[in-house]
Subunit: 272 residues, 2 copies
């Protein structure tokens, strides 16, 4: 099943994707669908192509990102293979829909804006101190997250957060594919195109720590809740690692796609 | 004015501290008091000494922590003086009340549990791209946060988050003192006692980046909202920097106090 979240009538609604249509559900977002388990239809539908997509979860309790988690990205960033998953956070105001514009910072703040295609887990049920089986069972589904990174802010101190949580810069969508269709999330082609040119291409089987590992490990630290978003890291091919480095600028269109899910397609826009 | 948040009747309520009493307010927590601006009284009060204190903000949109921000702590941790504030996050499930037990992790997970007394800003009004004056005006008040840290998890990768957001380990309270009483938060004695023995003692004037600097800088990255919690960093004297290192264990009582605000007093407890 493919779920999504749309902006409609000044609010948001979850929906179930059926062919070219979104059948609206009586819940504000995909997180609420997982929390409630069973959700009625609203009796209305709209065109998927024309819908204004919201972030799949509009106000997640947690957004956890895993860094340095693809072997090829680890190599290009010059890091050692990690012994444990590297976690950092984003705040919810960072999130935008799968087709929204990315709000570039004022150029006086930064011009070092980079792309990172990532498979994101959406937690489906509450889980704490999970076994591997329980970790898998707690995964509600998967979506695409473009972990757009302001590299000079990411690197101005030891901690990534500042460069990872700029407002309105993190696309999340376009749909959440439930776990029954994608299993543990491995074996999916993942990639990024910048203005139609391929920049990242890999496969989720290249993850150092897979989705089960991550959910299990995180659940030893804190309870995971339905709607929590966990971005699992990005493969090689980011702009910062290119020679010379490449950054996104006003008008750049970035497409992050994952096999079996779809793509976020976002245009970068300078502030007016 | 001193505001607080209490657990009562299976829910929470904001209150205004008047002498030994808490006058209950018609808002669920201090964050809601700042969001609403004016809040009616519920017509009931209770004893401050007997109240079950909740985290001052029960569900903040953001918890931002500043690391390596006291000159003496920077020295003891062997770090260089930073050119920019170091930010990391906590999730809300980390928060507990000012008198609650700290939920130690299972000893098989970690025994390296450390204390960190911190002055915490509670944002009072929405602010983005703030000038210094706007940054100060956006501060609603100040409270105490004990940034209890699981050091081996903090240090297992480059990113602090894992060791900083263990569930039920971060006391926040006991009151929020509004900005009109404490100005920019400088000049306040701050310290930690472990089982009555002084371990940290400093003054908030020792901050590398003061409260105005931090709010101004963060507001360039993301909009700050009423109820957001910003912990400003801890002075020297943490357990990890002692020779030999000192950790909190089952039964340890940790007191973090700030002049003009009060203290969090929490007993560490192993899981049953």
């Amino acid at each position: 099943m493919q779920l999504t979240t749309v902006k409609i009538d000044g609010s948001t609604s979850a929906g179930r994707v059926e062919g070219d249509e979104i059948v609206l559900l009586d819940a504000p977002d995909v997180g609420a669908v997982f929390r409630r388990g069973e959700v009625a239809e609203r009796g209305a539908s709209l065109s998927f192509a024309d819908a204004h997509l919201a972030p799949m979860v509009t106000a997640p309790d947690k957004i956890v990102c895993v860094g340095v988690n693809y072997l090829d990205h680890i190599a290009e960033m010059g890091r050692d293979r990690p012994a444990a998953p590297t976690y950092f956070a984003k705040y919810r105001a960072a999130l935008i829909g799968a087709r929204d514009d990315i709000a570039l910072p004022d150029p006086a703040v930064s011009t070092h804006v980079d792309w990172e295609a990532e498979l994101a887990i959406i937690i489906g049920s509450t889980v704490r101190n999970a076994s591997p089986d329980e970790a898998l069972a707690a995964i509600g589904g998967y979506t695409v997250l473009n972990d757009v990174s302001v590299r000079d802010y990411q690197r101005r101190t030891t901690q990534f957060l500042a460069g990872k949580t700029f407002e309105g810069m993190t696309p999340l969508g376009p749909v959440v594919v439930t776990r029954d269709e994608l299993g543990d999330g491995s074996g999916l082609a993942i990639g990024t195109q910048i203005d139609g040119v391929e920049k990242q291409t890999s496969n989720t089987s290249e993850l150092c720590f897979n989705c089960i590992d991550i959910v299990q490990d995180l659940s030893r630290i804190i309870t995971l809740e339905p709607g929590d978003v966990i971005a699992t890291g990005t493969p090689g091919g980011v702009g910062a690692a290119r020679k010379p480095p490449e950054w996104m600028a006003d008008g750049t269109v970035v497409t992050c796609s994952i096999e079996g899910i779809g793509a976020t397609i976002n245009r970068c826009r300078l502030p007016l």
